[in-house]
Symmetry: C2
Subunit: 117 residues, 2 copies
């Protein structure tokens, strides 16, 4: 059985946001994103994949389309296929997100958003 204790897999990378793969298939990417203060996932889009960010620890600013919001522990946000999206940790503490994308993205499109670059 593929069973994981996510806490035991968490690692932060001082160089950039850490993506920690948990389960990957053609149908679904199931990852942890670990962001130190100041780290971000740049705004980008997936033409044919939905993504959901769920905050486990800490807080990030999430952008979907032209909107931004604070994502605090226990909150989830949907970035539907095609919508530019990204997250950044503007807080003074580490942030840990559970991130699901479905299906596996075939390609992603960079997006020069005004607020995350």
């Amino acid at each position: 059985m593929e069973i994981r204790d996510l806490k035991s897999l968490v690692r932060y990378d001082p160089e950039k946001m850490a993506k920690i793969p948990i389960f990957h298939s053609e149908r679904m990417f199931y990852d942890l994103y670990a962001l130190l203060p100041g780290q971000a996932q740049k705004v980008h889009a997936h033409e044919s994949s939905d993504k959901v960010y769920y905050a486990l620890e800490g807080e990030v600013v999430v952008r979907v389309g032209e909107e931004e919001a604070l994502l605090a522990p226990g909150m989830a946000v949907l970035a539907p296929a095609g919508a530019p999206h990204g997250v950044r940790n503007e807080s003074a503490s580490p942030a840990l997100l559970l991130v699901v994308m479905a299906p596996k993205p075939r390609f992603s499109r960079g997006f020069q958003g005004p607020l995350l670059n």
Copy 2:
């Protein structure tokens, strides 16, 4: 922006396990499952969808294929497409799971497992 505070959506149903939809698309089902002591999701399978259970609160016994394990908070388990799977709350406390399935299932197949029925 579709953003949800999951805690505010949690409800338990004394009659049966509560499925609380958070985000639903053709690509992904993103739900909470709320199980009171003794409640269960019967063993079943989806031919073409992967499912991941993640324990937010409480503990459940999870079955995937012929194996069973205890799923405690912070742990995630993959039920790949085709594998019979189910959960049951054998504890004395409520259990709350974050459950993702991708893609939206076209049909599911009941499975009379020896351990969950």
